[in-house]
């Protein structure tokens, strides 16, 4: 008797799990107190308003309960998280000036190589600070600003102050408040009116220190008629203690502008990824989210799009792969707040080996958003019955002149599909692999080529025939 089975491997993590010995220049005490927040603010030479913002956020954090829904996050003990870890490096504009140990980490991750081949600018954050930032001269000549948030706070303070945590206020939820109190690092992009940034910018976030948090802030403003593709990557080596990521992304897409925001999230499996992303899209603007969630022990990530101007659009494409020990709760929210706005949400999730994949969404069409259209499609593939796949979508429609559609599927690989393919001469294991690859293909084709290749590497299909 011949028994064949397919093994769909966990994400290959060896590349990401290489850890450097943690030798920070400074590491805050674990825990979250006013003294620690003031200390971070002082070390970062914050202006007074930012110090006040941090302290106000801390107060909100202390009075806000954790979410009453979603994955259990009781194992997150802030008393054992260091919220600020300053690497032993100053920000450099040349890789040669980045300390060898840190540079070699980014070399392994392929960041400098990608910069040479396909990026117009790169930011690299190590623990709590950005250690490298660059941008092509041709873009700076057109007025494009791409820098770390601390530099932006010094050199473009008015713009930062007008936008910082205005889309994601600290009162939004407990971890937005935490972010407001201890944020550090991140990227700032400003694209002037009419400028098309044809080659992507990329920021990469690496958390090396055990028992630490990363709280980078990304603020992007794409002015009227301009366009940008921004790529965000993140990873960390695995430790036996909990790490925390509570970043915040605020995107302003002005009239007629376009922004594609691509993320491949591959945190280690000791990570709590409690990240918040939000975009405000004005008249005729377009936000495109491409989101791959592969890492973390727990993830709660739901990029939100507020379609505030007439004809504004949102396209969200996401793939989530939850393996052993992972509970990945991901999805999207869209607010249609103006006439003739449209959104498309298309997600795929895979769960295996006891992994839990949850698709969660909220779509609201506000009164007066006449002609709004929204199409949601979320499919889940379960590879075994140790795992879970849940879909929790909600539609809140307050305008009759709207066209809203939603469809979802949960299931396993269909026997009929296998039969069909094998009847055409394809071996069963190949047929199964084709189906799984086909399942994520709508997402893979939305990724930049190099990321599609990375995703294919991450979802490493291994066929194995076990003969008895």
């Amino acid at each position: 008797m011949t028994q064949q089975k397919i093994i769909i491997e966990d994400i290959a993590r060896a590349l990401y799990d290489v850890r450097d010995e943690s030798r920070p220049r400074y590491r805050s005490e674990s825990g979250l107190t006013e003294d620690i927040v003031r200390d971070i603010s002082r070390r970062k030479n914050d202006p007074a308003w930012m110090t006040e913002h941090r302290l106000a956020s801390l107060a909100v954090y202390n009075e806000t309960p954790p979410p009453a829904w979603g994955p259990a996050i009781t194992s997150l003990d802030m008393d054992h998280i260091a919220t600020y870890v300053q690497p032993d490096a100053v920000m450099a504009g040349r890789w040669e000036d980045v300390p060898e140990e840190i540079r070699s980490t980014f070399d392994r991750l392929g960041i400098p190589e990608a910069e040479k081949e396909s990026l117009a600018g790169v930011g690299a954050q190590y623990d709590s600070e950005v250690v490298y930032h660059s941008i092509q001269t041709s873009l700076t000549k057109q007025g494009v600003v791409y820098t770390d948030m601390e530099t932006a706070l010094r050199e473009h303070e008015d713009i930062v102050r007008a936008h910082f945590m205005k889309l994601v206020p600290p009162k939004d939820h407990k971890f937005a408040a935490l972010h407001g109190a201890v944020w550090s690092g991140g990227s700032f992009v400003h694209v002037p009116p009419g400028v098309e940034v044809k080659i992507p910018l990329q920021s990469y976030f690496r958390l090396n220190a055990p028992g630490a948090g990363q709280f980078e802030h990304t603020l992007i403003i794409v002015e009227p008629g301009a366009s940008l593709h921004f790529i965000e990557g993140c990873s960390a080596p695995k430790y036996n203690v909990t790490n925390l990521h509570a970043g915040c992304v605020e995107l302003y897409v002005k009239e007629g502008a376009r922004l594609r925001y691509s993320t491949i999230e591959n945190w280690s499996k000791n990570m709590m990824n409690l990240n918040t992303k939000r975009a405000l899209v004005e008249k005729g603007g377009l936000i495109e989210w491409v989101s791959g969630s592969f890492g973390s022990r727990v993830s709660m990530l739901y990029p939100a799009s507020i379609l505030a101007g007439e004809g504004a659009r949102c396209e969200f494409t996401g793939v989530t792969f939850a393996g052993r020990g992972q509970h990945l709760d991901t999805g999207a929210t869209v607010i249609h707040a103006a006439p003739r706005t449209s959104s498309v949400i298309n997600t795929r999730s895979i769960s295996k080996d006891g992994g839990v994949a949850v698709y969660r969404s909220g779509v609201r069409v506000s009164a007066g958003a006449k002609g709004a259209k929204c199409a949601v499609k979320c499919d889940s593939l379960m590879l075994d019955s140790e795992s879970r796949a849940d879909t929790i979508p909600v539609m809140d429609i307050r305008e009759d002149d709207a066209d809203i559609g939603h469809e979802a599927k949960i299931g396993r690989i269909s026997d009929e599909a296998i039969f069909y393919l094998t009847s055409r001469g394809i071996r069963e294991e190949e047929a199964r692999a084709m189906i799984v690859r086909g399942f994520v293909e709508p997402v893979a084709k939305s990724l930049p080529l190099e990321y599609a290749v990375e995703m294919n590497n991450l979802i490493n299909l291994e066929l194995e025939g076990a003969r008895q």
Binding site: A68, W69, T333, R360, G362, R364, A367, S380, M382, L383, D384, S385, S387, R388, A389, D390, T391, I392, P393, V394, M395, D396, I397, R398, E399, D400, D401, A402, D403, I404, G405, H406, E407, A408, K409, I410, G411, R412
Partner: protein, 283 residues
């Protein structure tokens, strides 16, 4: 104290809560509706037997109906709410099915200033099934709050949850429909569909079609569509001499037809149609 200001209590919760701002986690009803214990009906259907039951609510009331279906039993339950538009109601129906038992549940919801409906179906036995068809229409200031859950525990269970509805005036409605494939429910199939027609710019429609699965060997699908009346249908009907209002009325009545076809009592169907006509005429 006005009815609008009356304290509310939680009548039920969805099995997997989500963001509070969406307002779907809890079914709430005015406290006075539950001041007295709901009228409780217990139904036991022995192995292999069939029961038909029609429950028509015409007054303010809270009802709880619990049914236990033995192996191969069949329960055809029709629940119609025709109470005047100013009353408040809260009903709960809980059904547990043994092996190969079948539930056919037909609900028509036309009334109540505030109405809450719960349906909790436990497909415990292998091969058991539930076929649920619902039509609702809410107008004026009505608030309709529904939570339907079908838990598929046995192997090879089948669930169909088909909901059609219309909203006019300033009506608010929440429909939560959950297909829950419990681990071990191998070979089970679940289908959920909701279609909502919006007839006024002032309505609020919330839909939460949840699908939960702890079992890989299942086939679950849900679909929802929310929007105005199909413009092409309206154009066709008006081009044949119907006024736009009559055309709208006809389209909504047509959406109810598959549900009304499941009700054998012709007098009751006529009463439902008359009530719908009244609601459609007065928004």
């Amino acid at each position: 104290m006005t009815a609008a200001a009356e304290k509310e209590v939680v009548f039920d919760r969805i099995p997997a809560p989500t963001w509070r701002w969406l307002g779907v986690n809890e079914v709430r009803v005015p406290e006075s509706v539950l001041r007295e214990a709901p009228a409780l009906r217990l139904v036991t259907i022995p192995r292999g037997e069939t029961r038909d039951m029609v429950v028509v609510c015409r007054t303010e009331a809270a009802l709880e109906l619990r049914a236990e279906l033995g192996e191969g039993a069949e329960f055809r339950l029709t629940r119609v709410r025709l109470a005047p538009a100013d009353v408040r109601c809260a009903d709960a129906v809980k059904v547990t099915l043994a092996k190969d038992a079948r539930l056919s549940y037909t609900a028509v919801e036309l009334s109540g200033a505030r109405a809450a409906d719960l349906l909790d179906v436990n497909l415990a036995g292998d091969g058991s099934g539930a076929d649920v068809a619902v039509f609702y229409f809410a107008g004026g200031q009505q608030r309709l709050d529904m939570n339907y859950e079908i838990h598929q525990r046995g192997r090879r269970t089948e669930a169909v949850l088909d909901v059609q509805g219309g909203l006019s005036g300033r009506a608010e409605k929440i429909f939560r429909g959950t297909l829950d494939f419990v681990r071990g429910a191998a070979g089970s199939v679940g289908r959920e569909r909701e279609a909502v027609t919006l007839l006024s710019p002032d309505v609020v429609n919330r839909s939460a079609p949840l699908m939960l699965s702890g079992e890989a060997e299942v086939d679950g699908r849900h679909a929802a569509s929310v929007g105005r009346l199909d413009e092409e249908k309206l154009f066709y009907l008006t081009s044949r001499g119907l006024s736009p209002d009559d055309a709208r009325r006809l389209v909504v009545l047509a959406a109810a037809a598959p549900v009304l076809d499941r009700i054998a009592d012709e007098a009751l169907v006529a009463e439902i149609r008359a009530a719908m006509e009244g609601r459609l005429s007065h928004g």
